[in-house]
Amino acid sequence: MNAALAIIALFFVVAVALALLARRGHEMSLEQWSLGGRGFGAIFVFLLMAGEIYTTFTFLGGSGWAYGRGAPALYILCYAAVAYCMSYFLLPAIWRFARERRLVSQADFFVEKYESRALGVLVAAVSVAALVPYLVLQLKGLGIIVSEASYGSVRPAAAVWAGAIGLIVYVVISGVRGSAWTAALKDIMIFGVAVGIGIYLPLHYYGSYGEMFARIEAAKPGFFTLPDRGSSPAWFISTVLLSGLGFYMWPQYFASVYTAKSEDVFRKNAMVLPLYQLVVLFVFFTGFAAVLVVPGLTGTDADLSLLRISRETFSAPMLGLIGAAGLLTALVPGSMILISAATILAQNVFRPLTKGMNDRQVSVLARALVPAIALVAVLLTLRGGSAIVNLLLMGYNLVTQLFPAVILSLGRRRVATAAGAFAGIVAGEATVAYISFSGTSLASLLPGAPEAVKDLNVGIVALIVNVAVFALVTLATRGRTVSRPAGDIVAMPAADVDR
């Protein structure tokens, strides 16, 4: 075993141990397991929310985009900032309702707001369709990181299995408390390691940041500006807006809102998170530094740029620390995804199917589902073909389709009907699926349109279809909901809530 692998293994053991310790003194009811008993203060909520900024996608993909594409990578820095500005108002509103109704999952929010269990099942299906590929992405990243950082001495498949088993153990036992505690370790590592190498590498190879940018610009003119076509400013702005709207629609982050003990937690976080996400900048710096140091990585290999330049530069123990940081960026979001997917399946799919399950049984079922979901993800990671890649690309667009139904439900008066929300989401998701699998773009839809329109992110089409159908069906069904207070056409009896 080399030094790098030993360090990675050590951090893995520490992370799992920390997560197991997190359980101490807490009875694991469903509310404790998936929401930490709704008692998290600003720091724990910060740790969970910072999880989204630092997944393996940011670690490998952020540096990979910076390395392979240059300026378009900056969208990653922008969309979170947009989401945080929105979070100041959005999250307290979601939190208040969730607390009042004791919601456990994101799908619960829809069930209660629209008084429709059918809508809950639909949202649950969307959630799982987006979450499983996202978990696969984390596991794939974990495999790559451990394999590269151990100089190839561990095969990716072995790393994926080990990572998944560790995840299962700590998620089943400690739930979201385990995620929060390991997130603390992760953030320390990210600050020390990702920021550290982002500062060091440009200085080491180029002498100064200015020199690095000047030399890359000389070698690749226009690398640091958006191109006129393709990833143009129109693409950039539309992608940032779509991703910003979808940011909190991910089920695991939506549910992490429920863990807070007060709504002030979110306003405090809105002040800190924009600054915290500047750590992504240093991941970009690493990717930029790699452009002239380890040239020639093309396509998906660009995602290896951070690890390759680290291998070129550092000794084995330092590479081990980088690998450990990368491992944690997979474990923390991975654990939140597992908890979310299991909670949603138990609470919003199985519970309505089998009448009379109590909270305790749902809790047991949710934890029993964790290994099953993890196994599916491992198999897809190891055997998955191109379909899974399509699902991954769809993920953000899938969850963004939930945004109109959430926003329209927050007002004091109910403006939208359950049937409208249901139809809007179905139409939006169907459009996303069609667009993704057929490879449609706005350029192919509107060949005669100006360049700026052609470059718009095609996800906008799905959102427009969603809102249009939502509005039409709402208008058509509105009178009926008012005259039938117990529920509308897709609603189950409102009295079914046994929480």
Binding site: C78, P92, F213, T225, L226, F236, V240, G244, R267, A270
Partner: protein, 81 residues
């Protein structure tokens, strides 16, 4: 500045300065087409990169300002634990 006609169900009422939250997204994204035309390095950084980083910092600043204003407007509303 607070209008007492609003129902008490919403712990934080909408106030005119809440529009402040729209400033960072609009400023940051609205400026992208223009910032993108600058091809020289400014302070050793590509201008688009610098533009975005400055706006991310300003976004945090706007949130701090909002928080402070909300706190002043209704100190009782924000610390209900």
């Amino acid at each position: 500045m607070a209008t007492p006609t609003e129902p008490r169900t919403l712990p934080l009422r909408f106030r005119a300065y809440h529009w402040l939250a729209l400033v960072p997204p609009i400023g940051m994204l609205g400026g992208v087409p223009f910032a993108n035309r600058v091809h020289t390095l400014v302070l050793g950084l590509p201008f688009l990169l610098l533009w975005i980083v400055v706006w991310v910092v300003l976004a945090a600043g706007c949130m701090v300002l909002l928080y402070a204003l909300d706190h002043r407007a209704a100190p009782d509303e924000r610390s209900r634990e």
